[in-house]
């Protein structure tokens, strides 16, 4: 039988006043620790908004979405904006199915992400509204 799940690589870089977090590989159950550690290292107060760059994600499972929900909750609690760059049509469909596109808007490019973060409103719902609280 073939080996283990391919690991995820997380790269963090500053883009103007935003922090871009790029993922490369499979965003799955066994990447919880790697992604969680990367999120924990971020000083959320330093940046106006966050860009989750998923353009190099080959595969995402439900735990990958769970990690994003968790991170988005932390960001919304600090009034920080978040946008995801998604180029894969199926991953975009999964955001739509889970209605996560209501709390994490989806764009195709970094330029679109910056424009959306600059705009006054970037999400359709807050995390509290999303969870019907």
């Amino acid at each position: 039988m073939s080996g283990k799940e391919k690991s995820i690589t997380v790269k963090i870089e500053r883009v103007e006043v935003y922090e871009k977090i790029s993922f490369q590989g499979n965003l799955v159950y066994n990447s919880i620790e790697t992604v969680g550690n990367a999120f924990d290292k971020l000083d959320l107060s330093l940046y106006e908004g966050f860009i989750l760059n998923m353009s190099d994600v080959n595969y995402i499972d439900s735990t990958g979405f769970g990690m994003f929900i968790n991170f988005t909750k932390k960001l919304h609690a600090r009034n920080k904006k978040v946008v995801a760059i998604v180029t894969d049509e199926f991953i975009e469909e999964l955001f739509d199915i889970s209605q996560m596109n209501l709390i994490i808007p989806i764009v195709k490019t970094e330029e679109e992400a910056k424009q959306l973060l600059k705009s006054k409103i970037s999400t359709l719902k807050t995390i509290e509204e999303y969870f019907k609280r």
């Binding site: 799940e5 769970g66 968790n70 969870f131």
Partner: protein, 143 residues
């Protein structure tokens, strides 16, 4: 076409089965392959994780895939005791926005939304079956 495979309840089985199902669906030119692979992977992941949590790594999980002309059926069987009946019933009413912000627990909701049918069955051999079915189209054969 039918494919039945038994694999140990370990994490390595998750990517293996995902790739196996994807390659099979690519070979059969099934347009909905990404959706089906995603749903199947969620069921396999749930089974493997449940078996590990119950300390039953010595037992196998079983994937049974049946591909018909316009439909696919997938059954995943494990021996971790199953999903409580109230959780099964609740699933029909649950939506993603009812979920807490936990990292795990959305797999069945994704399957319910992706596939046309999802069902559960306790087997006589102590196994628990998660079954799912979806209509398929073959690339190049659309009307």
């Amino acid at each position: 076409m039918e494919l039945k495979i038994k694999l140990p309840a370990c994490e390595e089985s998750i990517p293996f089965l995902r790739e196996l199902v994807m390659h099979t669906l690519v070979l059969r030119n099934i347009r909905e392959r990404k959706r089906i692979v995603f749903a199947c992977n969620e069921a396999v992941m749930n089974s493997v994780q449940a078996m590990i949590e119950k300390g039953k790594m010595h037992k196998d999980i079983v994937l049974h895939m049946k591909i018909y002309d316009s439909e696919i059926e997938l059954n995943v069987v494990d021996y971790a005791g199953g999903i409580p009946e109230d959780t099964q019933k609740k699933l029909n009413q649950l939506t993603f926005t009812d979920m807490e912000d936990s990292i795990r627990g959305r797999g069945l909701l994704f399957i319910k939304n992706i596939m046309d049918e999802l069902w559960f069955r306790y087997l006589e051999n102590q196994g628990f079956l998660v079954g799912m079915r979806a209509k398929i189209t073959i690339e190049g054969e659309e009307i």
